[in-house]
Amino acid sequence: MVNLVEIRDLKVEATTDSGRRVEIINGVSFDIAEGEIVALIGESGSGKTTIALTLMGHARPGCRISGGSVSVAGKDMVTLSEKQRARVRGTEVTYVPQSAAAAFNPATTIMDQVIEVTRIHGIMSSDEARARAVDLFRALSLPEPETIGRRYPHQVSGGQLQRLSAAMALIGDPKLVIFDEPTTALDVTTQIEVLRAFKSVMKKGGIAGVYVSHDLAVVAQIADRIVVLKGGETKEIGTTEEILNGAKHPYTRELLAAFEPKPRGAAGAAESGPAPLLEIENLIAGYGQVQADGLPLVRAVEHVSLKVEKGRNLGIIGESGCGKSTLARTIAGILPAAVGKIVFDGKELGRSARERSRDELREMQIVFQYADTALNPAKSVEDILARPLTFYHGMNAKARSARIDELLDMVRLPRNLRHRRPGELSGGQKQRVNFARALAADPKLILCDEITSALDTVVAAAVIDLLKELQRELGLSYIFISHDLSVVESICDEIVVMYGGRKVEEISPAKIKTPEHPYSQLLFSSVPRLDPTWLDGLEQDPELVRAYRQR
C-alpha cells in the first residue's frame, strides 16, 4: 500500500534580514501511513513547524521550499500551483494552530469560522455544516455544543478554543490533520481534556495526523511514531516504544534525560536558624480600584502566608491565573500589598518598593519570565550588568568591568559576549544575562518568575543546574515560581500549591507523590508522564475536575 504522506529529501530555504539564504530544513524524509499519527519533536528552531506546514504546501513569509517532494495522497504539494494547493487545504490536509486564541479572527463568530472551510470549498450547505459542527463540538466534549458557535472567540476559554480549532480542522473530513503544538499554551489540567478529545476523535475517524511538539511526554500519549528533529535534520525515527525505551541517537537521549526527575540533592542541611529569611503573613494584593474596605477590586492574592529559610528554596506552583506572579510582584514591592506583613531578614519591609531602602531592595532581586522583554534591546550586556553595580554598589568603571567578567563567568557565558546586545543572543543566553543582572546586586533572595518556561527542555535543564550551583557557591535562596512541577521539584525544598489566589497546600518534594489537598492531587496527577499508556490509564475524579477546572 502506498503511504498517505511521503516526504522525500525536503529542503526549505529562508532568507535572513541581511538577504543571505540559509537552509533551515536539510533533506528530511519520512512517511505517514493512513490513520497513523506521527509526532515531530525537537526544540524551537529545529524546523518542526516548517516541515508540518510544507504538508499544506505553505512556507511562512521569507521561507521557500527549495527542493525535494512532499506527496500527500498522491499529489506533490511542492509542484502544485497556489490555486490547486488552496483546494487541498481544509479538505484533505487541515491545520490545528499552536495558539487558537490568536488563530481565531476576533471579528466573526466561532461558528462562521468553523464552517468557513465548507463554504470556501462548497462541500455542503451551511445548515448541514452547522449540524456537523455541533456534532463535532459534542465529540470534542465542549460545553453547550448547541450554542457555543454563536459566541465570539474572546468569549470562550483557551482550552475550549483549542478544541474548537480542532473542530474547524475536522469539519472538511480531512485525511491528515496537522497539530502544531496544540497544548503548549494550556495548563496541565486543561491539556488532559484537550489531548483526550483529540485522541478519541482521531481514532474514531481513522484520520492520520502530524503532531508537532517539544514535549516528549505529551507526544508519547498520542503518537504512533516519533521523528526527532534538530537543526533541520532528522536525528532519529522510530515507533513511540522504540524512541522511549531504546533511543539510539545521543540527542534523543538528552531529550529523554531532561525528563528524568532530578530530586534536589541533600539540601544543604537546613540551617533552621531562629529567624527565617523571608516571612509573609496574611498577604492580600490585587488590581483595580480600592474599595471602601481598603481592598482592591480584583484580589489576585488572598491571605497568603509563607516562610523561606536561609539557603533554602521555596517553589510556588499553580496554573495560569492562580496569582503566583502577582505574589512575586507583591513580595518585591512592585505591586504594593493591600494587607499583610512582609518580614525580610528580621526587618519588616515597606509594602511598596518606594518605601524600601536601597539596601533592602538590593538584597531581594526578581528575575522575570521573558528575558526578551526584561532586557533593554538597545543596551549591550555590559551596560545591562553595569547598571545595578553602579546603582547598588557605586562601583567605578574599573571595578565594574572586573565584576562584569566575574558575573559572566558565574552564569557560564563567555566574557566576549559583554559587547553584544540582547538581540544577538540565544534564548538561553538571554535568560543567563537576565539572571546575572540579579546576581550583580549581591542579593540574599532571588524571586524567579517562570524563568525556564520560555526555554527548551534541554536549555532549561542547564539553567536549573546553574541555579543550583550558584546557590551552593553564594548561599542564595530562591523563590521559584513555575507551572511546571518537574522544574520546581528539582530545585525546591518546599513547595506551595496555589489556586485561585490562595495557598492550598504546602508540601515537601519527598511527599509530592501523595498530596493531601484535592487540588494538588488533581494538578500533580495531570502532569504527563513518558509512559504511552499514561493518558488512557489515568483516572481522575470527574467531580474534582469539574470543581477546579477554571476553563
Binding site: 511562512r60 481544509g90 479572527n105 466573526t108 468557513e116
Partner: protein, 316 residues
C-alpha cells in the same frame, strides 16, 4: 448592542462636548489676544479718542473678558453668531453660502479620494513587496512631499494654460449643467485628492499589512481561502478602526485647511473667508469660522471613534 457599548459611545460623545467647550474658550481668548484695538481699526486712524471710547462702550469691549465670553457663548447656543464688525452683516449670513460651498467641495473630493485611496492602500498591502506596491509607495511619498500650492499651480499651468481644458477659476455659483459642474470642480478636487489621499493610502496599507501578519490570517490561508476572501473577510474587518480614523483625519482637513487651494482657484469657501476676516480684525467672524472648523473636526473624529467601537466585537 449592550450597555457597555452604549456607555462607551456616550462617554465618547461627552468627551467631544467637553473638548468643544474647551476649544470655544481657547478660540475666544486667542482671538482677543490679537494685536490692535478693534474700535481703533474700525474707525480708522483719524478717529477722535471720544469716538473710539464711545464705540468701545457700545461694543462692550471694556467689559471683563469672561462676560464677553459668556455673552458670546450664549449667543452661539441660540444660533446667533453675532454681527460682523467689518460690514455690519450677521455672521450667519456671511458664512452660510460659503460654508455650503466648502461642504460641496469637501463632499466631491471625499467621493473621489476615499474609494481611490482605500483601493490603492488595500491592493498595495495585498501585493506587498511587489513592483506595484513599490510604485504606490513611491508615488504617495512623492505626493506627501510636494506642497499643495505646487500641485495646484502645476495643475492650473497644465490644464488651464497649456491644454486649455479646464477653467482656471472655480466660481461655484455659476453651475448650470453637470459637465459644467465637473469642469469647475475638476482641478480643486484633483489637487485636494492628491493632498489627502497619500495619508489615507499609507495608513490603510499599514493597517491591512498588520492584520495580514496575524495568525488568524495564516489560518484562513491554511483553510484554503482565496486571497480576496482572506483580505475582505479576515484582515479588513480587523483593520477598520485605524482606517476609519485615518479617513476622518484626512477629511477633517478639507473642512478648514484648504485655504491655499481656495485662494489659487479663487473658490469662495469658508477658509478664505476666515483669512479675510483676520485681515479686517473681524472677531465675530473669526471666532465663528474657528468654531465651525473645530466642530467639523470633532464630528468626524468622534464618528470614526464610534465606528471603531462598534466594529470591535469584544465590546459588542
Amino acid at each position: 448592542m449592550n450597555n457597555r457599548v452604549l456607555s462607551l459611545v456616550l462617554s465618547r460623545l461627552l468627551i467631544a462636548l467637553i473638548t468643544l467647550v474647551i476649544v470655544s474658550f481657547a478660540v475666544f481668548f486667542a482671538t482677543t489676544l490679537l494685536p490692535g484695538d478693534t474700535a481703533t481699526i474700525l474707525l480708522g486712524q483719524a478717529a477722535t479718542p471720544e469716538a473710539v471710547e464711545g464705540l468701545r462702550k457700545a461694543m462692550h469691549l471694556d467689559d471683563p473678558a469672561i462676560f464677553r465670553f459668556l455673552r458670546w457663548i450664549v449667543g452661539l447656543l441660540q444660533g446667533d453668531l453675532g454681527t460682523s464688525y467689518a460690514n455690519e452683516m450677521p455672521v450667519a449670513d456671511l458664512i452660510g453660502g460659503r460654508f455650503i460651498n466648502t461642504l460641496q467641495l469637501a463632499g466631491v473630493t471625499a467621493l473621489f479620494s476615499v474609494p481611490i485611496a482605500l483601493t490603492l492602500g488595500i491592493t498595495a498591502a495585498m501585493l506587498r513587496g511587489s513592483l506595484y506596491d513599490r510604485a504606490v509607495t513611491v508615488l504617495t511619498i512623492g505626493v506627501i512631499s510636494v506642497p499643495e500650492f505646487m500641485i495646484a499651480t502645476s495643475a492650473v499651468l497644465i490644464f488651464a494654460v497649456y491644454l486649455k481644458w479646464l477653467p482656471a477659476l472655480s466660481f461655484a455659483n455659476e453651475v448650470t449643467s453637470l459637465t459644467e459642474l465637473l469642469r469647475i470642480y475638476a482641478m480643486p478636487v484633483i489637487t485636494l485628492t492628491f493632498v489627502i489621499s497619500a495619508q489615507m493610502i499609507r495608513m490603510t496599507r499599514a493597517a491591512v499589512i498588520e492584520t495580514l501578519n496575524t495568525p488568524y490570517v495564516e489560518m484562513a490561508l491554511l483553510k484554503g481561502a482565496s486571497r480576496p476572501r482572506i483580505v475582505f473577510r479576515h484582515a479588513l474587518p480587523n483593520a477598520l478602526g485605524p482606517i476609519v480614523n485615518a479617513v476622518a483625519l484626512s477629511l477633517s482637513y478639507l473642512l478648514g485647511g484648504v485655504i491655499i487651494v481656495e485662494t489659487i482657484f479663487n473658490y469662495p469657501g469658508i477658509a478664505k473667508l476666515m483669512v479675510d476676516a483676520v485681515a479686517t480684525r473681524d472677531l465675530p467672524l473669526i471666532q465663528s469660522c474657528a468654531m465651525i472648523f473645530c466642530l467639523g473636526y470633532l464630528l468626524l473624529i468622534t464618528a470614526a471613534d464610534i465606528i471603531a467601537i462598534l466594529s470591535n466585537p469584544r465590546l459588542r
